[in-house]
């Protein structure tokens, strides 16, 4: 083979493969960026951070009018239990306030969100780490990147071997189910330390939503009974701290005594904070009622 033929073949093949992938990416448009996302149902996958970042640029503002903002404890809060609003669940596994702010800021310029449920829990404001290259995501990633290829691979595999969905178009996803915690399970002791930068980010995201006319309702994650007792001082201090640091809005506190029965039922939990499917269903129903009451009273 001559050098010129080799060069032509090599460059031609690279151009062809890249071109084909760009066409495929445009056709699949897994993040709703290339074409009109209205009415489409797009899901995330294990590459949740980058997928949600890109979905928030067009898909979320086009299809949803309410948000759930939080960490992994609310990822399995499915929107079908909420009435009156179309909720998108922005929660991410291992997520923190700074990551949530970055997500919501993608959606705000085009979005009109009527309500946002904002989770209150010590862990969400304990750190401000943008994981997984989350601070450098670009739209060109849609054309071919590790995360977009991962989502494409998952989508293709799902078509070849269909299985019950784990990730849903409302941003929520199921958590791996296992045996409920033992009656005396407390989990790790909560770190009382709070990160000023993370708190600042959480405050600003709420303020930005309020400026856009969004009504805020805070939700304190319910801790499993023994874990709550073990960390009572930290949680109570945190709630007091959050009430003073965050912009004022109604708070639904699932750690209040009236929810003790829910919190002491281990079948509602996977660990000290993550809810089982049954627990998530029950909580979302309760939350829907309390949210409407809170909004009505506002």
């Amino acid at each position: 083979m001559s050098a010129s033929l080799w060069l032509a073949m090599t460059l031609g093949l690279i151009a062809l493969l890249i071109g084909l992938h760009i066409l495929l990416a445009w056709r699949l448009d897994l993040f709703g960026i290339c074409r009109d996302p209205h009415g489409r149902t797009l899901i995330t996958s294990e590459h949740e951070r980058k997928a949600k970042y890109l979905l928030n640029q067009a898909y979320v503002p086009a299809n949803f009018d309410a948000l759930i903002i939080g960490a992994s404890a609310s990822v399995n809060w499915h929107s079908n239990y909420f009435t009156g609003y179309r909720f998108y669940n922005e929660s991410i596994e291992g997520g923190d306030a700074s990551e949530e702010r970055r997500l919501v800021e993608q959606a705000l310029p085009q979005g009109h969100f009527k309500v946002a449920l904002v989770a209150l829990t010590p862990r969400v404001t304990a750190l401000h780490i943008l994981q997984d290259g989350f601070d450098q995501v670009t739209r060109t990633e849609v054309l071919g990147s590790i995360s977009s290829l991962g989502v494409e691979y998952d989508a293709v595999m799902d078509r070849i071997h269909p299985h019950p969905p784990t990730y849903f178009p409302d941003g929520s996803h199921n958590l791996p189910v296992h045996a409920p915690p033992k009656p005396n399970f407390t989990g790790e002791k909560l770190d009382p330390g709070q990160d000023p930068e993370a708190i600042g980010d959480y405050r600003r995201v709420v303020e930005e939503l309020m400026v856009h006319g969004t009504r805020i309702v805070y939700v304190a994650y319910p801790f499993y009974g023994p874990a709550y007792n073990y960390n009572k001082d930290v949680i109570e201090n945190y709630m007091h701290f959050a009430a003073t640091e965050m912009p004022p809005a109604p708070i639904i506190d699932f750690n209040a005594p009236e929810y003790a029965a829910f919190r002491n039922d281990s079948t509602n939990y996977l660990d000290e904070i993550h809810l089982s499917p049954t627990g998530a269903d029950k909580l979302c129903r309760m939350l829907n009622e309390r949210m409407h009451e809170a909004l009505h009273d506002q």
């Binding site: 060069l7 090599t10 690279i14 990633e141 991962g150």
Partner: protein, 475 residues
């Protein structure tokens, strides 16, 4: 502009090559050289336009010194050389070492006052060293000062201006008539250059960044590392450094080759070395050549008698200076001193004809010593480096793996980085050097498939918002 970036690969490099070839064919070599000079100036200016003033001041001053040296007789000639060398060292030190040296004499300054660290122009260590070699070569009559046009082209050539390899004017200048290649070898150079570039791109974007993830995670870990983990993370850092810098060098050599220019090779599978002397013959080869010719030899000559002890002292001094050349911090000095000591012992061992270790043991000892020195290279302070070295030999919890287990939770997804990590390990310890592969290159279907795969996978990684800047950009 980074080599491993789309603006460079898809826009800058193709335009530079196509226009250069067109100018070479239609107008002539001077036009092609002028184009390369203009393109190199643009490339350099993209980092910070003001740096152009600093690099051109250095180019002009050194060219004038070289002309002066050329037109003068001894003993004035030697004094001019010394003045020129001092001027270069002062120039480099002003930007790179002033704050560092001032901190050594902090007691002499008013309380609370510290000399600010100046932002230094990219590649200052490299272009200063190349010009020191140019001045010495002019002094020794190996080289003429040449025209300012040639000297500016030599210093600013985009392939090596920022991070080497360290080129010598006498090896470069006679090639300047070939910018754009000659008609009989042009396509072959383009194909071979592209192949070499694709290997470098893959090493940087895929291997180096995968190892960087592991090393960064390990070194940022807040909990105590077990010795097993400390070795894993330290080896990962050593591999990150190797793939980062050798990948950059491959891209530099490949891009120059596409323009018909051969620049010095820099790496030759260094982690296969069985002695520290061999390691430095394979690692950053252009720097080793500089250290040998322009530091070690003059220091040895300065001793009145030749002895093994004097030679060992000269190695130690030369390597300490080379360590400091990497950066204004004690960690780099320790890195240089360690290698100076290693080399001294290695030389002593050889000269005294002490028993040779079995091959595998030689390799293992060499690699362990290299990793220990790199621990200091990557540390923020000598104290931190020492802590990390102690962690390598801490007898408690020898095989603990809690931090390794946390890696995937913290974003080092092994289903993404696992394969690059394994392949990178094989490539570094068992594979041939990319220099060797490029030398043996033949335009075949297999090489075509390799280049396509390497390029596309590297593109995916570059487009995945994970690339890290070149480690050697700091120098």
């Amino acid at each position: 502009m980074l080599f491993a970036s789309f603006p460079f690969i898809l826009v800058y490099l193709p335009i530079v090559i196509v226009v250069c070839i067109a100018l070479q064919r239609l107008i002539g070599p001077k036009a092609a050289q002028a184009w390369i000079l203009a393109a190199s100036v643009f490339f350099y200016a993209t980092s910070k336009p003001f740096n152009l003033v600093l690099i051109f001041a250095s180019i002009l001053a050194n060219w004038l010194f070289a002309r002066w040296i050329e037109r003068t007789e001894q003993p004035i000639k030697k004094r001019i050389l010394v003045a020129a060398l001092v001027a270069n060292v002062v120039y480099l030190s002003t930007f790179k070492y002033l704050a560092f040296f001032a901190s050594l004499f902090a007691f002499a300054f008013p309380r609370g006052y510290s000399v600010p660290a100046l932002p230094f122009p990219l590649g200052i260590s490299f272009f200063t060293v190349t010009q020191i070699m140019y001045l010495v070569d002019c002094y020794e009559g190996i080289l003429t000062s040449g025209t300012l046009f040639d000297h500016a082209t030599f210093v600013t050539f985009f392939s090596y201006v920022i991070s080497g390899p360290l080129a010598r004017a006498k090896r470069m200048r006679h090639q300047f008539g070939q910018f754009g290649g000659q008609s009989d070898t042009r396509m072959e150079n383009l194909a071979r250059g592209f192949f070499h570039f694709s290997m470098g791109l893959f090493k940087k974007a895929v291997f180096a960044d995968s190892f960087a993830r592991v090393a960064t995670f390990g070194y940022n870990s807040t909990t105590q590392l077990s010795p097993f983990e400390a070795w894993v993370f330290s080896v990962a850092y050593a591999l990150q450094l190797y793939f980062d810098f050798s990948g950059y060098s491959d891209m530099a050599i490949g891009s120059a080759m596409m323009l018909g220019i051969e620049i010095p090779r820099n790496f030759d599978a260094p982690y296969k070395s069985k002695s520290i002397i061999e390691f430095w013959q394979r690692w950053h080869i252009s720097l080793t050549n500089f250290i040998t010719s322009y530091l070690f030899t003059p220091i040895v000559r300065s001793f009145k008698t030749k002895s093994l002890l004097n030679s060992t002292v000269a190695i130690f001094i030369a390597m300490s200076i080379a360590g400091l050349w990497h950066g204004a911090a004690w960690t780099f000095v320790v890195f240089g001193c360690l290698h100076g000591a290693y080399l001294g012992i290695n030389q002593f061992w050889r000269k005294k004809k002490m028993p040779m270790l079995p091959a595998f043991l030689s390799w293992l000892v060499t690699f362990i010593l290299v990793v220990i020195a790199f621990v200091y290279f990557g540390a923020q302070t000598v104290g931190q480096g020492t802590e990390r070295v102690i962690a390598l030999f801490n007898p408690t919890n020898a095989f603990g793996y809690r931090n390794l287990g946390m890696m995937s939770v913290e974003g080092v997804s092994l289903h993404i980085y696992g394969l690059p990590l394994v392949l990178g390990g094989f490539a570094a310890f068992l594979g041939p050097s990319s220099e060797q592969l490029a030398r043996d290159f033949r335009p075949s279907a297999l090489n075509c498939a390799c280049a396509v795969i390497l390029t596309i996978v590297a593109f995916v990684f570059i487009n995945s918002s994970i690339p890290k800047p070149f480690v050697y950009f700091r120098f």
